[in-house]
Symmetry: C2
Amino acid sequence: MLHQPAQLDLMFQALADPTRRLMVERLCDGPASVSELAAPLAMTLSAVVQHLAVLEESGLIRSQKQGRVRTCHVETQALRAAERWISERRMVWERRFDRLGAYLAENPEEPDEGNPT
Amino acid sequence: MLHQPAQLDLMFQALADPTRRLMVERLCDGPASVSELAAPLAMTLSAVVQHLAVLEESGLIRSQKQGRVRTCHVETQALRAAERWISERRMVWERRFDRLGAYLAENPEEPDEGNPT
DNA sequence: AGGATACTTAAGCGCATGCTTCACCAACCG
DNA sequence: CGGTTGGTGAAGCATGCGCTTAAGTATCCT
């Protein structure tokens, strides 16, 4: 329920990178260690860890360390927050679109006189 | 990461800025001119125009100029693309979650033996 | 015509991002 | 034990981002 703009910033920022989206996609299939995540990527482990830090900071994933292995998993709550923002926008837009349609249906071919709202 | 600029990259990048999200929210209520969009924002017109360029580049909005006024509106197709990526992730995750639940129901209290898939 | 309005373009500045390398530590394994 | 594996942390570097100022251009109004 928390409508934190800062959180959305971090979320969308995190999703804006193709490498990080790949990681999220991989983690949606199930948990993975850092080096498992790094394996298919053409960059150093260091870079991968930095991407993971961004993802974790954004709330999109979490991880815990056991022995020397850090295991990561998606935090779907966060993903839902991003999805919610978008679908809310879509609903607002669709509502307006419907009003516009109704207006045009009731005032066919009339010269434009401003916003029907 | 010098890959070709994927549309999702540009989209999420565009949405990662609170000012740009505000503009999108405003435009979901209906079209607006550049200075109408700029009015509530504590920055120069120049900065607003640059934000607009990012949004337009990402496909989230479009604009056309008539006389000296540029009118902007949302392009909801693009918004749907972002929404789709997220909801696909969620579905993958939920499917896995269901499988895991089924596995645990059939193998109660067993020691972990790897992925149920 | 002269002035106001609505952008447009370019240059620049400070900070953030995405990577690298190198040095390091801690856990596991034969 | 000593070597390999899995990860951590800091420094550095090139590029990108968000903003500014400043100087245009084109359109509309009187």
